[in-house]
Symmetry: C2
Subunit: 148 residues, 2 copies
Amino acid sequence: MTGNRSEDHGQAPGFGFLIQRLARILDARMKGELAAVGLDFKLFPNLMVLGQQDGINQREIGQKLDFPEYFTSRAIDALVEAGLAERRADPGSRRAVLVFLTAAGRAKALELQTIVARVNGEFLDGLSPAERRTTLDVLRRLTTATEP
Amino acid sequence: MTGNRSEDHGQAPGFGFLIQRLARILDARMKGELAAVGLDFKLFPNLMVLGQQDGINQREIGQKLDFPEYFTSRAIDALVEAGLAERRADPGSRRAVLVFLTAAGRAKALELQTIVARVNGEFLDGLSPAERRTTLDVLRRLTTATEP
DNA sequence: AAGCTATACTTGTATTTGCAAGTTTTGTAA
DNA sequence: TTACAAAACTTGCAAATACAAGTATAGCTT
C-alpha cells in the first residue's frame, strides 16, 4: 500500500506533449470545417495531395503523406466511392494504378485548399512574422531530420 | 471522364500538415522507446500525469491531458490491471475515485519522465537556444489560445 | 422533500486502425 | 526459362477508438 499523495510538481508541458495536443486541436478544427462543407475528414489528406498532383500511383501518394500503403488503398476506395477520384490503368505497369480526380473531386480539392489555407492562416495569425518564419522553419527541419 | 493530369504544384507543406507529421514521428519514436523498457504506449500519457501528481480524480486527469473521460476510464483500468495504479474512494464524494500510483507505478513513472525528457531533448537538440525558446513559446500560445 | 440538472464515471457497440498475410506483376539472375 | 526477390496493391481479422447511452451520486430550487 503506497500512495503518499505526491505534490503537483506543476511542470511546464514538454515539447512532445505540446505537439500532440496541437495536432489534436488542429484535427478537431479541420473536422468541424470539413463537416460544414460536407466533406469526410478521412478523405482529406489524400484529396489534398491529389489536388496538387494527380495521375500518380498509390505508392507515390502514400509517400507524400508518409502514410502506410493499406491506408492509401482504403482512402482511394473511399474517394472513388464518393465519386471524387478514379483509378486508371498505368500504361507503364500492369500492377500499378494511376489515380485521377474527377471533375467533382477537382472542385472539392479546390474548396479544401481554400479551407486549409484559411485555417493555417488563423493559427499563425497571432504570431509575429519572425515567429512564423522560425516556427515553420523548425517544423520543416524536425520533420525531415529523420528521413533518409 | 476528366483528369487532365494536373502538374505538380510542389507546394511547401503547410503548418497543419507539418504538425500532424511531427506528431506521428514523435509517437513512433516514443512507441519504440517505451517498448524497449516494456511499457505499454497507451498507458503513457496517464502515467506521465500521475507521475507529476496523483491522488486526483479521473476527471482531473482527463482535463490535464485534454482527453475524453471514457478514455481516462479505460486507461486507468489498464494501469490498475498492470499493477501501476489503484483507485481509492474519495472521502469528499462517493461518485469520484482518486487515483494513486503504486510503488511500481511510481518507479515506472520515474523511468518514463527520464525517457520523455531525453527524447524531447534529442528533438530540440538541433535548434539554437533562440529557436528553442520561440518554438516552445509559440506552441504554448497556440495550445492555450482556444481554451476558455 | 421532490424533482431537476449536473457531475463523475462506466460500458455496449459500431467504426477505424494496424498488422500481417495475401495476390499479381515486374525485374534479376542462374 | 526457371527460379527468386521485390514492387504495387488488397484484404482478413484482431485491437483500438469514439460515440452515445447508461449508472450512481451530488447539488440546487421551490
